[in-house]
Subunit: 222 residues, 3 copies
């Protein structure tokens, strides 16, 4: 068990590192300075879990009390700052590590939400949020629509993985089993989505809707 915990913790730090890389790369592409790069590294790597902890009342969040997450994030930011060209070349492998991090965050996030007494449906959603929240906050800080809201099967994969953990809990399966199943499904979905460019459908717009789709001050009804 202790070995498993260590294993999971190492995976957790790896996931944080990979997510932090994504924040640092985005910050470099937007010409942020070294401080901005480190902030986006920490945000992308940790705000999914921090947001979940705020919502379930687990304060101060683990991302703030365990210094290792900060160190890993800063490390990712510095690597990207000093070695951007190299990081830039590693996109494909990074996507796989990112899928692994997403799977782990979704599974661990759902489990933590269950432990804090959330109902199963919400626990699954909070697991998904743990996986996608960091990237969403990263994009909000960059004044962009979060990519996860209009792209491929990213969030759906996280939700599927988290849901399996919750279902396993409801069925009384051991966490180890459902965690492996949920993580595997999330990773597999991500892998297929990247491999075959699977995407989610977009709604059909009326002419009026298309008109509004162009950036303008007109707004939908509040």
């Amino acid at each position: 068990m202790n070995t498993l915990e260590t294993f999971v913790h190492v995976l957790d730090l790896i996931g944080t590192f990979v997510f932090a890389i994504s924040g640092a790369v985005a910050a470099v592409n937007r010409r942020l300075d070294i401080f901005g790069i480190l902030v986006l590294s920490f945000v992308a790597g940790n705000f999914g879990g921090i947001t979940r902890d705020l919502l379930i009342g687990a304060v101060p969040p683990a991302g703030l009390t365990d210094g290792r997450y900060l160190l890993v994030s800063v490390f990712a930011g510095l690597i990207t700052f000093f070695w951007y060209a190299g990081v830039d070349r590693l996109r494909s492998p990074v996507l796989l590590f990112d899928a692994a991090g997403l799977s782990l965050f979704a599974v661990a996030g759902a489990q933590k939400a269950i432990e804090f007494g959330l109902n199963p449906m919400m626990a699954a959603l909070l697991g998904m949020l743990t996986g996608i929240g960091g990237g969403m906050t990263r994009d909000v800080l960059l004044a962009e629509i979060p990519q996860v809201l209009r792209s491929d099967l990213y969030a759906v994969a996280a939700l599927a993985g988290a849901s399996i953990v919750v279902i396993g809990y409801v069925l009384g399966l051991s966490y180890g089993v459902s965690a492996l199943a949920g993580g595997g499904v999330c990773f597999g979905l991500r892998f297929m989505a990247i491999r075959y460019d699977w995407r989610l459908p977009v709604a059909h717009l009326s002419a009026r809707g298309r008109a509004e789709a162009n950036p303008s001050d007109e707004e939908p009804p509040r």
Copy 2:
């Protein structure tokens, strides 16, 4: 009393539904995929109350523990996704439902803040935040300046309704009375603002200010 509670709860779900529609419509207009549409539906319908609950320490927020709010939000998102043209035609009635939802959220939000011991002034503001927070978060996720910050009497109507509830509490009136009065004033103000396009004043800019008003990297003093 029990009937009143049921009535209020039904109104609450209706308000959530209408706000969720506004989020879904905005998401469709920005070409988000079905997942993004559902996220914006939930955010627009529930983040006002969730933000209030986080600020007053009521965690986990009711929006996360009572699954009906999620179901209503998802339902609103799916209707908009599959039947956008129809939803698009319903703008005027939606505006009225929206005014009703705003009134209800502002009144209920102020009452909850009072129950959690906030001082009257802050309770009124948190009531307003309950009404406008969902739409603000929706716009932030769409990388836009929240419409409520530069439009008509939307927030002011919510603040007026919430303030009446707080004043009634300070004067020792029964919640039912002050809630009806506050909700009525909020709804009436919104109705008049829509009917006669009432707007709030905007500050006069110096030449220098106007120059900066154009999107640019120059910034106001921090």
Copy 3:
């Protein structure tokens, strides 16, 4: 001691006022209405501390329970609304007051984080967040990349001041001494950064990175 506390509280309100002015000026430049101006005043003046309080579990946040912060913020917003040209002329002195507010917020924020049991490294970061969080939220609400993420030594000065307070705490020095030292260093760094336009380095971009740096839908790896 009581005199010191009063002194610190007065400084705190002055810092809130100056930060609120920055929010109001930004809101006027973006053509927000009077309500939007007051919201940005409150956000810029208080959300650094409010965010810190949410993260360390100090709810409801002091910015919501002590009405004076709201009154000072509203006052700053009204002054800017009715007397924009005058406020606009006061930029240089405002920058100095802003540096004072930043120093105070960073020092007080770090101390509060220590009192709530955060580890020293995180206490220093939360002190920094207390200083920069208001301006960051202001820029996010204006759909802009927070200026602090790509500008001069603003955040670094706050971090330096907060770190000195934390180090003083670890070394067992009296809070008064380390607070004065930390505040002085933060103010000094800000003053020099403004005076000599000190800036932080920006990463070198690959050709590919530069291509992406232009606003576009392409994204960094998540």
